[in-house]
């Protein structure tokens, strides 16, 4: 599963130019031992990664009836049907809105808080401790917490909203359901982004900021002309991480809070793969959707490799 940490490690891959290091290293001469050491990981990888992934690709060009009685080769028909399906296009749109909103809100709030934390002198450690723990909350539970607050029958905040006369019911209104899951998803991700922005801010040389201050640049100007551009690598990195998070890791939020509904207002791509495969048992379509998702992951990974390690602020 794509998790946030996995992406970080990916980003660290090319550091020190060691990715394709030459073989000048001192090594041990054993011939058999390295294969034994590699065996457990390779076995698990083959059984649980390569075999199912190739099955997904294979099934994506087959049409099978739900009982598995007959199968026929249909070429790219599944893809054509999936991409022409208004429900699929709807879930693509839902995913895009959800991801962009989640990433923007989570990053903007985290950046604001990180800049503030960089300013204060006392209490830095306490603020950090109090800020990081939602990282440990499972996405599904984050969704439930927000549902407790905002569900119309017993949530206190829902009660307050409704008492102003606003008709708040995320279980019936699609837009409100979207607001709810975006809030929960963004809330959970703030702590993660906060840590990275704090680290990014610390690595900006103070002399640059002081020089600008001497030249008479005010605080706001210093932020937008010096700090923000120098943070660009962190920001870009987090943008990719948050997009991956919103695409894949938020399945739990959607499954626990809205179940893709009301209607199909919060049905994201991953939720639809699950729903078509396990609930509706349309295997060919589900497999085709899996392959499309695979292509999206490869795309995101490629973007990350291409740009993250290039220091964005120079280019």
């Amino acid at each position: 599963m794509v998790t946030a940490p996995s992406v970080i490690l990916r980003a660290g891959l090319f550091t020190n130019g060691t990715f394709m290091a030459s073989s000048t290293r001192v090594t041990f001469p054993n011939k058999l031992l390295p294969y034994v050491l590699l065996a457990p990981q390779l076995a698990i990888t083959a059984i649980f990664f390569y075999w199912p992934a190739s099955q997904a690709i294979y099934q994506s060009v087959l049409r099978e009836d739900p009982f598995g009685l007959s199968t026929q080769f249909v070429g790219l028909d599944n893809f054509r049907r999936v991409l022409g399906d208004p429900n699929y296009l709807n879930s693509l749109q839902v995913t895009l809105i959800f991801s962009v909103a989640t990433a923007l809100i989570a990053m903007a709030l985290a950046l604001l808080l990180a800049v503030m934390a960089d300013k204060v002198i006392r209490g830095k450690g306490i603020y950090r401790t109090l800020m990081i723990w939602p990282y440990a909350v499972a996405p599904a539970i984050a969704g439930m917490l927000w549902l407790f607050l905002f569900n119309p029958s017993m949530g206190t905040l829902a009660y307050l909203v409704r008492s102003t006369g606003y008709n708040w019911d995320p279980l019936l209104n699609g837009d409100q359901a979207m607001v709810l899951i975006v809030s929960a998803a963004a809330w959970k991700q703030i702590s993660y982004n906060f840590l990275f922005f704090v680290a990014g801010l610390q690595s900006i040389p103070k002399s640059l900021i002081e020089a600008a201050a001497i030249d008479g640049a005010g605080e706001t100007k210093r932020f937008w002309t010096i700090v923000f551009p120098l943070l660009a690598p962190t920001t870009f990195f987090l943008l990719v991480v948050n997009t991956v998070y919103a695409f894949f890791d938020t399945f739990g939020i959607i499954h626990a809070v809205t179940g893709g509904g009301p209607g199909k207002a919060t049905e994201t791509l991953v939720y639809k793969v699950y729903n078509d495969g396990f609930v509706n048992l349309i295997l060919g379509d589900s497999a085709a959707q899996s392959v499309i998702l695979m292509i999206i992951v490869i795309g995101l990974t490629a973007i990350q490799f291409r740009y993250v390690e290039r220091k964005v602020h120079y280019g």
Binding site: P5, S6, L13, S23, L37, V120, R128, Y135, I141, I298
Partner: protein, 282 residues
């Protein structure tokens, strides 16, 4: 030095405190709710101070004797989740430190091919291969087993890449010195490499423990029996808005119990966690 602006700093503190209130509020609210009776919860608005039913609710959830979630107690669910999180964290660290060791400290035919085979799995998250993986698990008879919950999540390139990256920074002289002193590969691994990797292992452990504890899609697919479920899935099964019988006060308690262990791990191991998260990236 930039002029020290006390008002600016005051504003910064104020914004941080508001931020922390937003971050903490949903969890605080749930905690409050977990100390109220069912009737109080169902009659919003809830008071913002803990109610008087703390012991009553928590002991009912933990030792109530009545299986809350399809005949299974919270303790069983917590135990399952703990086994899963520990299994994934420890298993992943073990197999990836071994394979990284092989790739960095040995030269053998196919080395780069194996490296790429592991590396490419980054692009195959569970979500994109749900159905076929599920089929394999059924064929292998791993549904409703700890092996089924743990093993497929154990292999991933991330930990291997982290260890590989770290091993690359170990000077060759160290290997040479060890070899001159007659240390074999096992000796070198045990007495030099492992002690040097301690911080990395700790950092990775925190991240992977959280990863394992917060899994959702995989346990949802892998478990049919309620007594093999994880706490997050169990919680999801407890909640029903259509059903008037949902015991919300116990749901809140379960929620707090599900959040507590990973939060404790993050807060208590904060130093390693932050290091693992942020500094490996540099």
């Amino acid at each position: 030095m930039i002029q020290n602006n006390p008002i600016g700093r005051l504003i910064a503190h104020a914004i941080l405190i508001i931020g922390i209130l937003i971050v903490a509020f949903p969890i605080y609210y749930t905690f409050i709710a977990s100390t109220q009776s069912l009737q109080e919860i169902l009659r919003p608005p809830l008071s913002l101070l803990p109610g008087g039913h703390f012991w009553e609710n928590y002991s009912a959830a933990l030792f109530g004797g009545v299986g809350r979630i399809g005949g299974v107690g919270v303790d069983r669910l917590l135990f399952n989740t703990l086994v899963m999180a520990l299994g994934i964290a420890i298993g992943k660290i073990c197999i990836s430190i071994l394979s990284a060791y092989a790739i960095v400290f040995f030269r053998f035919p196919g080395r780069m091919i194996f490296f790429w085979l592991i590396f490419i799995t980054l692009m195959l998250p569970v979500e994109v291969r749900i159905l076929p993986t599920y089929k394999i698990m059924v064929d292998l008879g791993l549904i409703d087993t700890y092996t089924g919950l743990i093993l497929p999540l154990m292999a991933s390139a991330t930990a291997t890449l982290l260890f590989r990256q770290f091993f690359m920074t170990i000077p060759g002289e160290l290997v040479e010195a060890a070899r001159v002193d007659g240390a074999g590969p096992w000796r070198f691994f045990k007495d030099i490499l492992l002690p040097l990797s301690k911080t990395n292992i700790a950092a990775l452990f925190v991240i992977l423990f959280i990863y394992g504890w917060t899994q959702y899609l995989w346990p949802l697919l892998m478990t049919n029996r309620n007594d093999m479920s994880t706490i997050v899935i169990g919680l999801r099964k407890m909640i029903s808005f259509a059903d008037a019988d949902t015991e919300w006060h116990l749901v809140m308690v379960t929620c707090i119990l599900a959040i507590l262990p990973p939060v404790l791990v993050v807060v208590l191991m904060q130093r390693w966690f932050v290091r693992g998260l942020v500094e490996t990236e540099k």
